[in-house]
Amino acid sequence: GGYMQSPGGFGSPAGTQAEKKQRIRSQNIVPCTVSQLLAAEQVDETFRICDVEISQVTIMGIIRHAEKAPTNILYKVDDMTAAPMDVRQWVDTDEAGGENVVVPPGTYVKVAGHLRSFQNKKSLVAFKIMPLENMNEFTTHILEIVNAHMILRKNLMSASRAPQSFSSGGISDVGGYGGGGSLPVNGLTAHQSQVLNLIKNCPVPEGMSLQELKLQLHNMSMSTIKQAVEFLSSEGHIYSTVDDDHYKSTDAE
């Protein structure tokens, strides 16, 4: 799968009205409906769904049609949200024994690929087509679509205004674009969020010191706090002031 790029790079210290509309550059692989892909707007080389940039996507649907050509297989994949979408899979003609197996119509598949547009017609170039063995994955995919688009859009909105807390309505652990283990929402773990919030709310000009943080965060060890501070600093959420023990938030008013 892909990985979620933290929105931290957008906390520029300037943060003023001169800021243009910012957008999250997507290095994710985003689960989508066919209807979303058809509605995506193309500007130069990039596609956007409601300002969220997309490139690599996954869709899930049923194969309605499969046509084999010498260099590629053209499928039509239907997920009920629109007309079936053209999905092209290039065939490796050098492969000994040569036959790429064509997935038969009537099969539910998960497709991972790149969105393309040619003469105003959208299609996908698939790098992976997998028949579903467990239809519950389909239910999960539906939920992942809502979750992904909700989080991606909310990240956009909070990156372009003075953000409050980073909590979003989305479910935090989603496979495919999350990365492993305990997936942070918006790129921050619970510890990092707590540290950031304290630093943000500190009114003192020289910012918050590590000692202050330790006093307020009884449950966190100093090394956990330092790790959080290091991460937040490298992501651009905070910066050191008078010395390496004092930090201010880049988003503070």
Partner: protein, 116 residues
Amino acid sequence: MGDVHEVPRPRIATAHLAQHIGQPVCFVGRVEKIHPTGKLFVLSDGEGKHTTVELSEPLDEEISGVLEVVGRVTNQATIMCMSYVQFREDKSPFDLELYNEALKIIHEFPEYFPFS
């Protein structure tokens, strides 16, 4: 059989039939009973509510388990079936109740799951 597959078909449960009279829909449910003529069968959704599905030609195969039906809602709030697919359950059973929960989510957030 062609045209209904070229347009958006909202995924619905039995409770939503009345709101989609005359429209193409996609319904997933478990086979409860099949009429002896083979031209009618009943599916239950994730809430246990029943929907009647009609066919223009009698069934030419056994159906059982979970079916996904594409068709148009009739004035009597049944579904005139254009095509159906059986969900494979050979490796794992399909959790229809969870699917119903997912339907609630996509109905609540149509901006994140549009049916064109």
